[in-house]
Amino acid sequence: MPTPLEIYSNIKTFLSFTDRDIANLSAIRGIVEKHGPRVTDDFYAVIARTPETAKFVEGRVEALKKTHAKWMLELVAGDYGDAYFESRWRIGKTHVRIGIDPFWPESVMSMLRSGLHLALAQEIANPVELSEKYGSLVKILDVDMMIVNLSYAEDRIDRLTEFTGMKRALLENLIHMRKD
């Protein structure tokens, strides 16, 4: 079984995440800086009015908004090496640790895709350029989501290992065993 970092590298290759994507993402940094605060505000407004998610942000919305702004700027910072993975991995682990169900980060990512698409559409008139830039943004958002999902999967295996005493390799064997 490859490590999460190896999976990250493999997924970037699989998605053809190239220097062109990196250039596209770096090129939209200004747009994200300009529209990011609105996207963040909209996102936290929805979280705060949803009972299931409000409890996770209560009393610390402003601090979380700063963290979120930093996360968004890292999306377009142009560096997607091991440090980028580690940063996303820590975020995933934090979501797991505080007990957010995995479908909430998925839903939130959908909101961010929409919000950031709107921001790009407001600033990029050429539809071909918009499509290309947004394509690169979607790739990195999906990679981020994949890392968060990996965090959840790892945590579930860790919990089972801890509780049952089963070796990780045994659990992996059972998971991958053919059903027939």
Binding site: T164, G165, M166, K167, L170, N173, L174, M177
Partner: protein, 121 residues
């Protein structure tokens, strides 16, 4: 003679020397078969996964319930017994018997076979 051949010979000897033993296998704590004398209809990989799981759970349960170090996991069904014992070095011995098996003899013979297996490993 290779280690695998020696292990297979020990398992065959255990089975043939104890009529109540229908099948036996050596399984790693990762759920992989090391050596086995199992009937053809039994799916080795599934049996190995289950046995390793049960021994892991048994070990954890014995500890949590204050029963000390696990010696055996015993399953009794209306068609017989499955006895799992840790041999050492992350290896377990699984023995399947008929319903009328003399457990005392089974434990004695599996204990002897386990000692032999430890030497080979």
């Amino acid at each position: 003679m290779s280690r695998v051949e020696l292990l297979n010979r020990t398992l065959r000897s255990l089975q043939s020397g104890t009529p109540d033993i229908e099948a036996c296998a050596l399984i790693s704590d990762e759920g992989l078969v090391i050596a086995s004398v199992l009937p053809q209809h039994i799916q080795e990989a599934r049996v190995a996964g289950m046995a390793a799981t049960l021994l892991s759970l048994g070990t954890r349960a014995a500890n949590e319930l204050g029963r000390g170090k696990l010696e055996q996991v015993l399953i009794r069904g209306d068609a017989g017994y499955a006895v799992m014992s840790e041999v050492g070095q992350g290896v377990l011995l699984l023995v399947l018997t008929g319903k009328d098996a003399k457990l005392g003899l089974i434990f004695l013979d599996t204990g002897r076979a386990a000692a032999e297996i430890r030497k080979i490993l």
